[in-house]
Symmetry: C2
Amino acid sequence: MNTVDLVIGIDIGGTKTKIGLVDKAGNCLSQMYFRTKDHPDLDTYLEEVKRSVDGLMQELPQKPNILGCGIGAPNASSKRGTIENAANLLWKGSVPILEKLKEKMPMPMRLMNDASAAALGEMLFGSGKNMTDFIVITLGTGFGAGIVANGKLIDGYDGFAGELGHVDMTVGDGRLTGLGVRGGLEAYVSATGLKRTIMYLQSKYMDDSRFRNIAYNDLHGEDITKAAEEGDVIALKAFDYTARMMALALANFTAFTQPEAFILMGGLTNSGKWIMEPLNKYFNEFLLEVYKGKVKIVTSGMPGKTAAICGAAALIWENHR
Amino acid sequence: MNTVDLVIGIDIGGTKTKIGLVDKAGNCLSQMYFRTKDHPDLDTYLEEVKRSVDGLMQELPQKPNILGCGIGAPNASSKRGTIENAANLLWKGSVPILEKLKEKMPMPMRLMNDASAAALGEMLFGSGKNMTDFIVITLGTGFGAGIVANGKLIDGYDGFAGELGHVDMTVGDGRLTGLGVRGGLEAYVSATGLKRTIMYLQSKYMDDSRFRNIAYNDLHGEDITKAAEEGDVIALKAFDYTARMMALALANFTAFTQPEAFILMGGLTNSGKWIMEPLNKYFNEFLLEVYKGKVKIVTSGMPGKTAAICGAAALIWENHR
């Protein structure tokens, strides 16, 4: 029986944990997910991870040769192997997740900020293949960024570069993020931010809307896209508001490393033209003259459902090229 | 007679053009300056540059062996050798300065954004010697930034990285920069920004102040420092206001590349503790928890008067190591 070299990719998100087995070309051969928030206890969470990996291996037609395990997580320090004070996770303080998971699954293992992992994934398998300067933006429960400049991922002095969701967009006079940053970008531009904007716009305007009958906790991103398709005024205004704030942020980020492209991924990108059209319009408006026409906004070049898994797996595949 | 290897360093600023001869260790052996704005015509400006260089050479005790000429300028594209739409210079549009100066002084020549040149200078000769991740901030007529990450200067896709003076700090509801960017950082944090703040605070408060008798065009940075020393309330509030805006910007920038240090240089740093004390206070307040205690704010490690010249010369010295 032939064997196939594979890497385990684990994406720890605020809502879901996604796990998959990824081959050298970036194909995710087998995958599954479970709800992260069902496991407030780290130990039972890691047991669930191990059970999931074992299950995936049994599904494979070929015998896998596992090269290692890459993990993407919010607020992860690549240099220390820890997750620290993540706003959207239940485990608080400094969590030594790499060490704990290695005890259960001994193998080469690497942890990185989820958005940095995604950037590495785009560089190896996706839209970043032929670029030396780009920024990956992940729009899920939060807002993440992975920055590539001079053809290398920017880690930062201590492994915490790219925490752009906590950039203050409003000079201290705006919404609070989960980390208590007032005016923090991810309080506006993320799946959660879009929901908060639906609330805000109901306070600001008197337009009739399907959202007048839906409570915050019952509200999902897909509902907002569907409402926009049906012409719901609050939904349309919410996309416009979100896109404008995001365009301002991306125009500001351009002045930093001048990327050739922003590569977008995550839940909010599923809203397609409802977010992308106003985003492109405002982005061209806000962009400094010297950058106009030189910065693209594209979506991930990896299959939507498995992009984050492939990104995590790229942490190990990077060392096998 | 012995010869000495030297590089010509030229710093083109909105107010002054500084020219010097720099040795391998970063010592500026001979220097002079003239007013940039006296030469609205590029050709007569470049004649003045050439005359100045010739003058400097004659002052030297040793015969110089000139290796080349490095030029730092605002809005410079290292990749094209041009200055483009600089807000604080009189020459408008795209100025092919490298080509034009080479006609007058044929030698190896390299042009770079002034703040990026300064960053290279700090890396070779100054406070950045032992760091792989730092950001140089130049606080002159405008606000510039040179970013080093992974031990390399970040150029950007097209040579225009680090234009952080035009980052919008106020969600489109603030002062206009010289480039027409509303809320642009340099409209607040620069020598010019400090003067504008003196005006603003006279509108906002009724405190008595020496500035009630000084017109905007007669106002100089040194006056504001001196007034602060004498307890002038408007001067003290102006430093506090400027430092707070700058602290917010630096806290935001930290989330981008997570530098080990910000290295400050330029006119505004001459105000010493009046700017540095409130800056450090607000910076620690605004910094995200995960970065606290890990990011230093220091001043340039190069002699104040010649730092920009040494930075420009570093463009050539970098290739002779």
